[in-house]
Amino acid sequence: MWRRVLAILRARNREFYRDKAGLGWNIIMPFLMVFGFAFIFRAEPDDLFKVAVLTGRGELSAEASPFLATRHVTFVSLSEPESAIRKVERHQVDLLLDLRAGAKYWVNVHSAKGYLAERLLRAAYAGAAPLPARQTVSGEALRYVDWVLPGVLAMNIMFSSLWGVGWVIVRYRKNGVLRRLQATPLSAFEFLSAQVLSRLAVVLSASVIVYLGADLFLDFVMRGSYLALFLVYVAGALCLISMGLIVAARLRTEELADGVLNLLAWPMLLLSGVWFSMDGTSPAAQVISEIFPLTHMVNAARRVMIDGSGLSEILPELALLAGMGLLLLVTAARLFRWD
């Protein structure tokens, strides 16, 4: 069996690396994205300040705190104190207000906007209610490039995984390559395994090259374990390749496959927090984003690179990605038709 898998794998690899135009594109595109977004597009929110609020019930009303009535401040409801405090440390929010029992607020002593937001808070409370207890944290701002890079790597993996298998298999079906292979002892499982392995190798090598390139030209943080990061991307790539296989299981035209792949890719791209944080978006968007493997891949990669998480800390996300991947792969194998 492995001899047959290897034969198909080698043929697919040759096809890939001899296609110079495609190969170049696979490597150049993520670089363009990183540079473009890191240096040109720096998203500034419309509101002047961003304040995170920890509440017991999750609703933000002026009755809970006079500060919440302040205009031109974005209030974001969060539920986990630990990650909320980390956001203050990294200047991702200007202030954190804890309205649960024993009200407190956190401010970063290194943040200019934090200083101003604190003045506003004090003014809002003046004479109206007892001021929450002051807590301070310190820390340099998390730069956009640090935050966006794990997502850009994941996004590149997504495009390469979805189109790399989806498009190719549909083309094989349309031009008769699949029919020819069907007439040999090769089984569908062997054929699909070869496609998955080939694409996985391509995706991971491209990611390593992009990572090294980014390391050379950009200054970004990597605080966690390389092994953990690698495994996150492997599990994520498996999920997305399997998703591509499902799309390719029956379709006969590249145009339709392209449409379906776009239909999958763009919502994932917009709702997985690759470019902007999902904090403060509508609850519906947050629920949808939980369905996407890309979300979990991006979150886990950020936790490794920015928070310095090790393998054991991201194990739940890894397990989730691996489980999703397996489910998608089995579905793809069951749906697959040669003709």
Partner: protein, 293 residues
């Protein structure tokens, strides 16, 4: 057992059409068996059922007396009518890839020599001419040293020279004892290569037998063809004749009396042809419509 392949009452339905309508025939070991018919007659559909690529709606295919199983794939070779190979592969790489898919393979050097591929081994498969491509596809079909070879319209689209070369190649393959099942709409091809043919039209068999015997059974020995405008106007119409493609056709056992008659009525004999009837004539007689319609 002399039958290598047996088709029993094969039926294949596609939405709204019955493409194959109850075909039964047997292919003997070592034979070259031809499925003939116009485009859309159900040849390729029938062949795909024999190959195990598509399932019959009803009926069954037996190989060596048993239903088709996975081992069957190891023992057959197929040359499809239109096949793309994976891009960016050379001829040699394509051959080797297919060779690794089988447990048993033939000697590749010998195969390359047989199919005359040695000069194009390192060429990208997308840059092959029609004839070179068909030779490569045949080599791929032979890579596992199959007992049974399926060829679906192997010479369609080739120029006459390449077609003749390809026929020579198939004859060489046959000398190695392979059983061959082929479809074609070229009657000349069937007459040269096939020991036995079935003629299929609209999913049914309308005639079967050895090509020569089939023709002889349905026609007198020769056909005399004369351009229609060579017949003198005003003369009584020729007896026992057909008009086809602007030619008057007279089928006869003996030529001299026909010539006598033609001279008597004053026909212009400059473009007269005397031919042996072939499968094409037979097909027309049996179906009332042309082969390539």
């Amino acid at each position: 057992m002399t039958h290598l392949v047996e088709a029993r009452e094969l039926v294949k339905d596609f939405p709204g059409v019955r493409a194959v309508d109850g075909l039964s025939f047997e292919v003997r070991r070592g034979q070259c068996f031809g499925l003939l018919g116009p485009n859309g007659a159900g040849k390729t559909t029938t062949l795909e059922m024999l190959e195990g690529i598509s399932r019959p709606t009803a009926g069954e295919v037996l190989y060596q007396g048993r239903p088709l199983d996975r081992a069957f794939r190891e023992e057959i070779g197929i040359q499809f009518q239109s096949t793309a190979l994976q891009d960016f592969q050379t001829v040699c790489e394509s051959l080797r890839m297919f060779a690794s898919l089988y447990r048993r393979t033939t000697d590749l050097d010998e195969l390359i020599a047989l199919c005359n591929l040695s000069e194009i081994l390192d060429r990208d498969t997308r840059k092959l001419s029609g004839g070179q491509r068909q030779r490569l596809l045949l080599a791929i079909a032979l890579v596992n040293d199959p007992l049974l070879l399926f060829l679906d319209e192997p010479t369609t689209g080739l120029d006459p020279q390449s077609r003749r070369n390809f026929w020579g190649l198939i004859e060489a393959v046959r000398r190695r004892g392979k059983t061959v099942v082929l479809t074609t709409h070229y009657m000349e091809e069937a007459q040269r290569l096939c020991d036995e043919v079935v003629i299929v039209d609209r999913g049914r068999i309308i005639a079967r037998g050895r090509p020569q015997e089939l023709v002889q059974a349905h026609f007198p020995a020769v056909v005399v063809r004369l351009p229609a405008d060579a017949w003198p106007s005003g003369a009584p119409p020729p007896p026992a004749s057909d008009l086809r493609d602007g030619y008057i056709e007279l089928f006869t056992e003996e030529v001299p009396p026909v010539l006598e008659h033609l001279k008597r009525v004053g026909a212009n004999l400059n473009e007269l042809k005397v031919e042996t009837p072939n499968l094409e004539d037979l097909f027309l007689k049996l179906t009332g419509h042309g082969l390539r319609s």
